[in-house]
Amino acid sequence: MSGQWLPLLVAVPLLGAAISAVAHRRLFVQRAIAVTSVTAVFVISLLALAEANAGTPLSARIGGWPEGVGISLFVDGMSGLMLSVATLVGLAVLLYSMSQLGRDVLDWWFHPKYLALTAGVALSLSTTDLFNLFVGFELTLIASYTLLTVRSGTRQVRSTISYVVVNLVASVLFLVAIAFAYAASGTLEMGQIAAVLRTESPGLLPVLSALTIVVFGIKSALFPLFMWLPDSYPTAPSPVTALFAGLLTKVGVYAIYRTQTTMFDADQPLLLAVASATMFFGVLGALAQRDVKRILSFHIVSQIGYMIMGLGLLTLAGLTAGLAYMVNHIIVKTGLFLVAGEIEAEVGGSDLDAGSGLVRKRPWLAAAFALFGLSLAGVPPLGGFVVKFALIQESLTTDQFGVAAVAILVSLLTLFSMMKIWTGVFWGDQVGDGPGARRGMRLVTGSMALLSLAVALFARPLFDVASNAAQTLLAAATGGG
């Protein structure tokens, strides 16, 4: 495979979105198009990952314009890994949504929005140009705004407003950073910006670094910029929340990884402090909640802290563990929200008081939840343990004892709030009276549970791929751009 195929990553889902918007009354056609497009993107991502892993990252210039003028796409190990996992999980959510969405008039537009979101994520993950990254983010976000209001009740509208306004402020700051970078360096290519700034105006680097951390910190819900997330995510229908939980914030984390290594000399104390605070306050928020989806949303915040911790360690093993953590987290977190969707379908609500006794009614769902929940907390021998262990081990090797202590404490608190869901929803005898989960939903949740087991079973290959990706990142960091 050569780089010419890369534009398809973005073009296929965009074209699919257009076709399925035209065919908006034919649900079968829409579904076929959506599944085909996302599968195509998944296959291309896997092939690109294989190439990048073999040492030849792919790149493409759209329209043959010279570098610095045209739109260029680039997929190295980290992009390929993230793209593959993101599209695989996206595909699972798409199949899951077939049993839930697309059944009433409001949902005619679900598939076009979903495909536009996929295109935005693919563009964000495969570009090295700051402005293209901005466009990718905006495409993703506009699709996510409309997906949040798939069911537009008062609650959804209210939470979407704060979500949109917060993200718009972040976008404005992003443009400010782009304007600074372009004015100082005359280019938008991340590596070139860094190279020019290092020689001509090194004083601007910390300013730009701080601006981008704030921008991507808002998008990926870092402490203290995470307040919008638990407010908006839980109000959406479960498949939408699962998709957001798996993909959106992780694109922000990816951008932090990319910019902090390619463009800036990462500020290690700041990153580690932010990581600790994000882990700790995220999990504290989760402890106070009484709603399954809100508990899980606060855990997204807490888990982002672990990923930033991997970056903050700034070693090969640290970055590797951070990337592996992201892969495991995307699978587990999406799985947890799929379980939450089934709980909603079974007991008629996601509140802990809505119903209980699911362990008798749906033993396999309880097993899937236990698997995901224990993996999220990091209980051996699940995937969550493997990645968390690598992360904590590396933080001890590099003498970062403070962040290691926080990471262990937060794991315990995570386990505690998973137990809260378990006792609230699965134990007890007051079975709720929901319509029940459809077979399609059960199948997808089960497959995700198997996938999360696979992370533990195939940890070695995963860490090899992540290590290759981290090596490329570190080479960019030490090579001066």
């Binding site: 509208v157 306004v165 372009y182 005359g186 909640q289």
Partner: protein, 120 residues
């Protein structure tokens, strides 16, 4: 870089930030528009050879940098789309509550009142 342009950027950002802190959605919207204009001017300000002739085929002499102009066009389109969407949300809020006041999070208020109830 011209002083007038820089002053305009400063004023737009100040007004935008002030309006953004209001509770009425319409004011927030106008504030976001101001911020978007301010940042567009910033992008314009970032172009090389500011104030030269535009890039047209066959023209002699120095021309202004076309790239920031392309960026601004993209940014304008995106800001337009999002503003239209926010306006739609404002209409929806108004239809539901006859107001464009942005409420607190329901769940947050519930938890806050529950914890203060336990203390008293």
């Amino acid at each position: 870089m011209s002083l007038a342009l820089v002053t305009a950027i400063g004023v737009l950002f100040a007004v935008g930030a002030y309006l953004l802190l209001q509770r009425n959605l319409t004011r927030v919207l106008v504030g976001l528009g101001m911020l978007a204009h301010g940042v567009n001017l910033m992008l314009l300000n970032a172009s090389a050879r500011l104030g030269s002739a535009p890039l047209v085929d066959g023209r002699e002499g120095p021309v202004s940098d076309p790239l920031p102009q392309a960026l601004i066009l993209t940014a304008i389109v995106i800001a337009f789309a999002v503003t239209a969407f926010l306006l739609a949300l404002a209409v929806r809020t108004w239809a539901a509550t006859s107001d464009d006041f942005v409420e607190d999070d329901f769940e947050d208020r519930r938890i806050a009142s529950a914890s203060s109830g336990e203390q008293s």
